[in-house]
C-alpha cells in the first residue's frame, strides 16, 4: 500500500491549468493504478490457491482420514460372532465408508491409508477410493483404487517411485493380502535376472491374457480399461472370470495436472488369514521399509 501517497504536492505536474486538479484527480492515472492493483491481487489469489491446494487440503483431509480409520477400526472390532465364525468379508457399506487399509512399506512404516468405497470427489478427499465396479481385495480380478497425488493427503504422491516387486499390503477385516508391483515395460524382457530376488517371488510377466499388463503405465484419462478385470482387455468383463488377483492404483499425471493418468499394476503373491488369537500380528512384508 506504499503507492498510496496523495498528500504530496504534485511535483512534476506541468499540466496544472483550468482543467487540472493535480495528480489526484487524473482519471488515467487512477485507472492504471486500479488495474495494476487488481492484477497484483489476482496474482496473490493464484498463489493463495496453490497454498490451499498443496497444504490446506492436506490438513482437512488428514482429519477426515483419521476419522475414517477410526470408524473402520471400530467396525472391525464390532464383528458379530457369526461374522467371526464365517470370516466372511463384506465391502458393501455406503459410498465413502472404509473397506480396507493399505500399506506401502517402501514408503516407510508410517505409510498407511484407509481405502474407502467409491471414487467421488468427496470420497477421495478422505483417502484412496475403491472403484466400486472393480474387484474386491484378495479375490481374482482387479482391485482398483484411485488416489490424489497433490493435496488432499496426497496418498499416491509417490507411486511413480514404486519399483517392481515393491509390496503393497492390503489389510481387510480378516486377512492380509500382499500385492507386488509387476515388472515394468522395460524390465519384462530381462526379467530372469530379477527372479532370484526373494522379494520377486511370484512376480513376473503374467503371460496371456495379461500380456498387456505392466507394472507402470501412463494413459489418457479416458482409458478406463486399466481397471478392467484383465487390464487393457475388454473381453473379460467379470472379475470372477480372471485368473490372477491384481491391484491397480490410478492417480493424476503429471503432478499438478490431470492431462494423463499414472497407473500402477500389482499382483497378489501372498495372503494371510488374521489369527483371532493374535490380533496385533502383521505380515513380514510390512517390515520391508528399506
Amino acid at each position: 500500500m506504499s503507492t498510496v501517497d496523495h498528500s504530496d504536492p504534485p511535483v512534476s505536474d506541468t499540466r496544472v491549468g483550468p482543467a487540472g486538479g493535480g495528480n489526484r484527480r487524473d482519471p488515467v492515472r487512477t485507472a492504471v493504478r486500479a488495474i495494476g492493483e487488481l492484477l497484483i491481487t489476482a496474482g496473490l489469489v493464484v498463489l493463495l490457491f496453490v497454498v490451499y491446494e498443496v497444504y490446506v487440503t492436506d490438513i482437512t483431509s488428514a482429519a477426515k482420514q483419521r476419522d475414517a480409520t477410526a470408524a473402520l477400526d471400530q467396525e472391525w472390532q464390532q464383528s458379530t460372532p457369526e461374522e467371526q465364525q464365517q470370516r466372511q468379508e463384506h465391502y458393501d457399506g455406503p459410498e465413502g465408508s472404509g473397506i480396507a487399509k493399505m500399506y506401502v512399506p517402501a514408503f516407510g512404516a508410517d505409510y498407511s491409508f484407509t481405502i474407502l468405497r467409491g471414487t467421488t470427489e468427496k470420497t477421495l478427499e478422505v483417502g484412496p477410493g475403491h472403484y466400486t465396479e472393480s474387484g474386491d481385495p484378495g479375490l481374482p480380478g482387479n482391485f482398483a483404487v484411485a488416489g490424489h497425488r497433490v493435496g488432499k493427503g496426497a496418498p499416491f504422491n509417490d507411486i511413480d517411485l514404486l519399483n517392481s516387486c515393491d509390496a503393497i499390503v492390503v489389510e481387510t477385516r480378516f486377512s492380509w493380502f500382499v500385492y507386488r508391483v509387476l515388472p515394468k515395460a522395460d524390465e519384462v524382457a530381462d526379467w530372469a535376472s530379477r527372479a532370484a530376488d526373494p522379494r520377486c517371488t511370484g512376480v513376473g510377466p503374467l503371460g496371456a491374457p495379461y500380456d498387456r499388463v505392466v507394472g507402470q503405465e501412463i494413459v489418457s484419462p479416458t482409458q478406463g480399461s486399466v481397471i478392467l478385470p484383465v487390464p487393457n482387455r475388454d473381453d473379460v468383463t467379470d472379475n470372477a472370470g480372471a485368473t490372477a488377483s491384481l491391484m491397480t492404483l490410478t492417480t493424476c499425471h503429471p503432478r499438478f495436472s490431470d492431462r494423463e493418468r499414472l497407473v500402477v499394476h500389482a499382483v497378489m503373491v501372498k495372503q494371510w488369514a488374521k489369527n483371532p488369537d493374535k490380533p496385533g500380528e502383521t505380515p513380514p512384508e510390512l517390515k520391508e521399509t528399506s
Binding site: 500500500m1 481397471i227 492417480t251
Partner: protein, 51 residues
C-alpha cells in the same frame, strides 16, 4: 483501490492497520473455505480416476 479503502477506514493509523489486517484475513478465509473448495473440482489439476 487499496488507497481508497485505506482512506475510508475510520480511526487513527493503528486502528486502521488492525482493521485492514482483519479485512485481509476475512478475504483469505472466504477464499480458503468457500471459493477455493467450490472452484477446485472445476479446474484441471486433480482428477485421478479414469473414465
Amino acid at each position: 483501490m487499496y488507497g481508497w479503502i485505506w482512506r475510508h477506514l475510520p480511526g487513527p493509523v493503528a486502528v486502521r492497520a488492525i482493521t485492514a489486517v482483519l479485512l485481509v484475513a476475512g478475504v483469505v478465509a472466504l477464499l480458503m473455505f468457500v471459493v477455493f473448495p467450490w472452484a477446485e473440482p472445476k479446474l484441471p489439476f486433480n482428477q485421478v480416476t479414469t473414465q
